[in-house]
C-alpha cells in the first residue's frame, strides 16, 4: 500500500515539476542573462523608474476602482438569486476570453477622443488616449475577472447562517455586510485584489492600443526590444520580473500569511 502511494507521489510530482520548470526556466534565463552592471544601469535609468512607478500606480488605481464596484457585484453573485445570473457571471469572465488587442480596440471605440464616452469626457479634461486614465482603463478591463471571481468564491464560503442571525438580531443589511460577511471574506477579496493588481502590471495588448504613452514597463520592454534589440530590453524585463516578484511575495506573505493555516 505504502509502495503504491510512493509511486503515485513520484509520478504526480514529476508531472507537476515539469510544469514548474516551465515557469522557472524562462524567468531564470532572463535573470541570469543579465549582468549586475546592466541591471544597475536599468535601475538608475529615470525612464525605467518612471515607467515602473506609472505601471504600479495605474494597476493599483485599476484595482481600487474594481474593489469599489466589483466587491458589491461579487457579493450579489454569491448571495442573491436572480434571473440572468449565469449571464452576469459569463460577462464578468469575458475579458479573459477576448484577445487583449481586441479589447484595446473596443476600449478605443468607447474611450477614444470621439468614442461613446470619450466625446463627453474629453471636454471635461478627462482624456484616455495616450494618458494615465487610458492605462488604467486598459488594465481594469483585462484584470477585473480575478477580483470579482475570487471575491465571489470567498463570499460564498461565508456561512450564510451567520448573516441570517445578524439580520434576525436587528442588523441592517449594511451592518451584516460590514461586520459579518466582509470580515470573514476579506482574505479572498484581498487575494483577488492582489491577483488583479499583478495581472494589471503585466498587461500589454489592451493598454498599448489606447495609451502607447506614457509608457508602462511592458510597452517600454517591447519598445526597447523592437527599437534597440535584446541587449537593451533584457535588463528592463529582468528588473520588472524582480520587482514584481518581490512585491508580490512580500504582499502575499504579509497580508495573507494566516491563509495557509
Amino acid at each position: 500500500m505504502k509502495k503504491r502511494n510512493l509511486f503515485f507521489n513520484i509520478v504526480f510530482s514529476a508531472l507537476g515539476g515539469l510544469l514548474l520548470l516551465f515557469i522557472v526556466l524562462p524567468l531564470l534565463s532572463i535573470l541570469l542573462g543579465t549582468t549586475p552592471e546592466t541591471l544597475w544601469l536599468a535601475l538608475t535609468d529615470p525612464q525605467v523608474l518612471n515607467s515602473i512607478r506609472l505601471t504600479f500606480s495605474a494597476a493599483a488605481m485599476a484595482t481600487l476602482l474594481a474593489i469599489i464596484t466589483g466587491v458589491p457585484l461579487a457579493f450579489l453573485l454569491a448571495r442573491r438569486r436572480f434571473r440572468g445570473k449565469r449571464l452576469v457571471e459569463a460577462l464578468v469572465n469575458l475579458p479573459i476570453v477576448i484577445p487583449h488587442t481586441a479589447a484595446g480596440v473596443a476600449l478605443l471605440l468607447v474611450f477614444g477622443r470621439r468614442g461613446l464616452l470619450g466625446q463627453w469626457l474629453t471636454p471635461l479634461g478627462i482624456v484616455f488616449t495616450d494618458n494615465f486614465a487610458g492605462v488604467v482603463v486598459g488594465m481594469l478591463f483585462v484584470s477585473l475577472p480575478f477580483l470579482v471571481n475570487l471575491s465571489r468564491e470567498s463570499f460564498a464560503l461565508v456561512d450564510e447562517e451567520l448573516e441570517r442571525v445578524a439580520l434576525i438580531d436587528g442588523a441592517t443589511p449594511w451592518q451584516a455586510f460590514w461586520y459579518v460577511s466582509l470580515p470573514q471574506a476579506w482574505r479572498g477579496v484581498l487575494a483577488g485584489a492582489l491577483m488583479m493588481w499583478a495581472r494589471g502590471i503585466s498587461e500589454f495588448g489592451a493598454v498599448v492600443i489606447l495609451a502607447y504613452h506614457p509608457k508602462i514597463v511592458p510597452v517600454l520592454v517591447f519598445e526597447r526590444f523592437e527599437g534597440f534589440g535584446l541587449v537593451a530590453a533584457q535588463p528592463v524585463a529582468a528588473l520588472l520580473v524582480l520587482v514584481a516578484l518581490a512585491t508580490f511575495i512580500f504582499l502575499r506573505l504579509s497580508l495573507l500569511k494566516e491563509n495557509s493555516e
Binding site: Q47, V105, L108, L109, G112, R113, R114, G115, T129, D130, N131, I209, Y212, H213, P214, K215, E223, R224, E226, G227, F228, G229, L230, V231, A232
Partner: protein, 368 residues
C-alpha cells in the same frame, strides 16, 4: 458529473490536437518528418505599408506555386531588419520601405557564426509618396491644402499622428517633409511650431549651407497634452484616425488609397516620391542620436522613396525566395500591386548585382 466533465475535457483536447495537426503545415515550420504533401514555408518579413497589397501577392503567388506556403509578417522597416540581424530569425525575404536601410544595417553587420554580411544585394522595386491622411471629423479639413498643410497641422488644438522615426521609415520621412517644406516655401518658421516643446527630449533642426540635419534623441517621448501622437509604425495610426483620435496622420499615398481615407497630397518638393526632385530631397538628413543602446548612430539621407527587397543570410529557402521576388517583379505581380494602388518601377535597379541569384539578375539592371 465529474465523469461527464472529464469526457468533455478529453473530447475538447482531442479535437484541438486534431485541429492542430491539420494546421501542421503552417504551425510546424521546419518539421520535415511530416508527409510529402507538406508545403515549403517561405518566411517573408515586410514593411507595414505593404500589408494589403502583399496579401494579394501572396494569394496569387500561392496559386501559381501551390507547393509553397508564404508566411508573412509586417513591421516598421527598421524592425523588419532587426528581426534578421538581432534575433537571427531564419527569414527568407526581407522587404523594407527604404531600400537604403539594407546597406546601412545589413551590409555592415555580420552573422556571428559565419562572419558573412546579413545581405550583400538589394533590388529597388517601387516608390511611394508621403501624404497626410484624415478622417470624417478632422479639424480644418475644409481649409487644409498642399500649400498650408504645415501651418494648419501645427495648430495646438490638433492631434497629429507620426510613426516613431526611430523605428519606421515613414516617421523620419515625416520629419524630412517639414524641412523640405521650409526650403520650398522659404519660410523657416514651420518646423518649430510643430515640434518645439512637444517631447521630453527635444527634436532639433540645424540648417547648414548644404544640408539641413534633424536630430532625434534616443528617448523620444511626447509630453502630456502634446499635439503629436507617436506609434511604432505608420499603419498603427490608421485605427486612431478612424476612431477620431487623430485629426491627421503621415501615411503613404498607397496606404491612404487602400484604406479609402481622405488625403492631402503634399507638393512634389516635399512628398519624397518624385524622381525630378532628388537634388532637393538630398538636402535633408535625419540623425538618430543613439548613445547607449547602439554603437552606430544611424543617419538617413533624404532621397526619393524606394522600397527594397533582398534575401538575407540565414534564409532557409533561397530558391523559393528568389521565385517569390521574381513573381513580385513579374507582370502578374505588377498588376496585383497596381490594383492595390502601389505601382512598381519600370526598371528594377539592383545594388550588389553580381551577388544576385541568376534568375533575378535576368530581370534587373545594375545600379551604377
Amino acid at each position: 458529473m465529474m465523469k461527464k466533465t472529464i469526457t468533455i475535457l478529453l473530447l475538447v483536447s482531442l479535437l484541438s490536437v486534431a485541429l492542430a495537426s491539420c494546421n501542421g503545415g503552417q504551425a510546424g515550420a521546419g518539421n520535415e518528418a511530416m508527409t510529402s504533401v507538406e508545403k515549403t514555408p517561405l518566411s517573408v518579413f515586410a514593411a507595414g505599408s505593404l500589408i494589403i497589397p502583399f496579401a494579394d501577392v501572396e494569394k496569387a503567388f500561392e496559386v501559381k506555386h501551390p507547393q509553397i506556403d508564404v508566411q508573412a509578417e509586417y513591421h516598421g522597416s527598421i524592425q523588419v531588419i532587426r528581426h534578421a540581424t538581432e534575433l537571427h530569425k531564419p527569414i527568407d525575404v526581407v522587404v523594407t520601405a527604404d531600400a537604403s536601410l539594407i546597406p546601412l544595417l545589413m551590409y555592415e553587420s555580420r552573422v556571428p557564426e559565419t562572419n558573412e554580411p546579413y545581405a550583400d544585394w538589394y533590388i529597388r522595386f517601387a516608390s511611394n509618396h508621403l501624404a497626410l491622411a484624415y478622417g470624417e471629423n478632422s479639424k480644418y479639413a475644409d481649409e487644409i491644402n498642399a500649400e498650408n498643410w504645415a501651418e494648419v497641422i501645427a495648430r495646438p488644438d490638433m492631434k497629429i499622428g507620426i510613426a516613431d522615426p526611430r523605428f519606421d521609415a515613414s516617421g523620419y520621412r515625416a520629419l524630412m517633409a517639414f524641412a523640405l517644406s521650409e526650403m520650398a516655401n522659404n519660410d523657416y518658421g514651420l518646423f518649430a511650431p510643430m515640434f518645439d516643446g512637444q517631447f521630453s527630449f527635444p527634436v532639433t533642426i540645424f540648417r547648414g549651407d548644404e544640408l539641413t540635419t534633424i536630430t532625434v534623441p534616443e528617448i523620444l517621448e511626447t509630453k502630456k497634452g502634446s499635439h503629436i501622437v507617436l506609434r511604432g509604425s505608420s499603419v498603427q495610426l490608421i485605427a486612431l484616425l478612424q476612431s477620431g483620435d487623430l485629426d491627421y496622420a503621415f501615411e503613404y499615398e498607397s496606404v491612404i488609397q487602400q484604406h479609402e481615407l481622405n488625403m492631402v497630397s503634399l507638393p512634389d518638393e516635399v512628398n519624397l516620391g518624385e524622381p525630378d526632385f532628388e537634388a532637393e530631397y538630398n538636402q535633408v538628413q535625419v540623425d538618430l542620436d543613439f548613445q547607449r543602446f547602439a554603437s552606430v548612430k544611424p543617419k538617413f539621407r533624404g532621397e526619393r522613396i524606394g522600397y527594397g527587397v533582398t534575401i538575407p543570410a540565414g534564409a532557409q529557402h533561397t530558391e523559393e525566395a528568389a521565385l517569390f521576388i521574381a513573381f513580385l517583379l513579374s507582370d502578374e505581380g505588377r498588376a496585383v500591386m497596381e490594383a492595390n494602388h502601389h505601382p512598381l518601377f519600370e526598371t528594377f535597379l539592383a545594388d550588389g548585382y553580381e551577388n544576385l541569384p541568376a534568375s533575378l539578375q535576368a530581370i534587373t539592371v545594375p545600379l551604377e
